[in-house]
């Protein structure tokens, strides 16, 4: 057991073998220089780390529901502020919220938006595994175009999978004019570390969106999460960038991006796209990725 990495999240949690988010949680919390209060939205992380009567958390931890993780964080922050003012506590703890993409993109969006707008001092970390993986792979608004899920199955008529585009959460969060937000990837832990440090230092709300492959429902071998995540960035599907006070900065510019097929073919959920009748869909997806990248680099160069 590695004592340094076990400081906040202990070994013995029941996440699937080969899951990506423990590395995210440990990296982000490892950068904390003050005590932390962890707020957790419902999701894989909450379900697997708090099996009754055990808990994998060694720090203050609160879980309320899917939709109000940020509201809970706001409450803690406000209570802490007033207790500090009255002199009942000597040190303020940093509040770190962890939510999956279901609890962030879909259900928790209103409370996240409210907390960002009110300017509470907290860090929101969204681990994006593109669906409701803990309840059995239902689609969410973070599921990429073309992915097969339980609620977007392949049939006789419908041959693409999910036909809608992903939600661009980074732009939504950026619209709140917060001081720091960034998109990171679990395969690039040094980059994630740097971003976590910056985000924890910011006074006021900060946001991190971290790519977290799901071995079970993306249907790739247990050992491959790092390789899948590397490909997501190398194909420009998941660019690494940060927005500091409205200023975009791309942290990893891929000079020679790989075709999107290389990322798609690693996963079983995109298997149907390689059938003969879906050739056009693949071309369309490549266009969409290039379009997104063009938009992002235009923003970064201004």
């Amino acid at each position: 057991m590695n004592k340094e990495l076990n400081r906040y999240l202990a070994s013995g949690h029941s996440a699937c073998a080969g899951c990506a988010y423990p590395a995210i949680v440990r990296t982000v919390l490892g950068e904390a220089r003050s005590p932390v209060v962890i707020v957790n939205a419902t999701g894989c992380l909450e379900v697997t780390s708090t099996l009754y009567p055990f808990t994998a958390w060694k720090s203050s931890y609160i879980h309320s529901a899917f939709e109000n993780a940020s509201a809970t964080a706001s409450g803690i922050e406000s209570a802490q502020k007033i207790l500090f003012k009255k002199g009942k506590i000597r040190e303020k703890a940093k509040i770190v919220v962890f939510g999956g993409d279901g609890g962030t993109y879909d259900i928790g969006l209103q409370s996240l938006s409210g907390a960002l707008e009110r300017g509470h001092d907290f860090l929101y970390v969204c681990y994006d595994n593109g669906g409701y993986m803990n309840t059995g792979n239902q689609r969410s608004s973070a599921t990429p175009f073309g992915a097969q899920t339980e609620t977007t199955p392949i049939g006789k008529e419908q041959k693409i999978g999910k036909t809608q585009l992903r939600k661009n959460l980074m732009e939504i969060v950026n619209a709140h004019n917060i001081a720091y937000l960034a998109q990171a990837n679990v395969a690039f832990l040094d980059d994630l570390k740097m971003k976590a440090r910056k985000a924890l230092e910011v006074k006021g709300p900060a946001f991190l969106n971290v790519f977290s492959p799901c071995t079970n429902n993306w249907k790739f071998p247990l050992s491959q999460y790092v390789n899948v995540a590397v490909l997501a960035t190398e194909t420009n599907f998941w660019p690494l960038y940060e927005i500091e006070k409205g200023k975009y900065k791309i942290n990893k510019v891929i000079s020679n991006r790989r075709p999107i097929e290389e990322f798609l073919k690693t996963q079983g959920r995109f298997k149907h796209l390689f059938a003969a009748e879906n050739k056009k869909t693949l071309e369309k997806m490549q266009e969409m990725v290039d379009e997104e990248w063009k938009k992002l680099s235009a923003n970064a160069s201004v």
């Binding site: 057991m1 073998a17 899951c19 590395a23």
Partner: protein
């Protein structure tokens, strides 16, 4: 207001996830360069670097060591190792 109770963490009572394992990672100590890539990517945080004496009994180098009590046998360590010092083998 009543003061809350503090529940102390007891590592000995933690569930052992080692019995999930189907494959187990075998470390080749002579190959390991102590880069720590497997340590940071391991989902269980059950790998740590320990200083160990080399074969000539003089040089001290970092070597990765797995805690088999918690290792779920996913094989992430083997797939990220740059020198292939970790090999997944079938458990008996």
């Amino acid at each position: 207001m009543e003061k809350g109770a503090v529940i102390k963490y007891d590592a000995l009572k933690a569930p052992r996830t080692g019995n999930w394992r189907y494959l187990y990672p075998e470390m080749k100590k002579e190959k390991c360069i102590g880069c720590g890539r497997c340590v940071s990517f391991c989902p269980e945080a059950c790998i740590e670097l320990r200083k160990e004496k080399g074969s000539d009994n003089k040089t001290v180098k970092n070597k990765a060591r797995v805690d088999y009590d918690f290792c779920k046998g996913c094989g992430v360590c083997a797939s990220v190792c740059p020198v292939r010092a970790i090999i997944m083998k079938k458990s008996e």
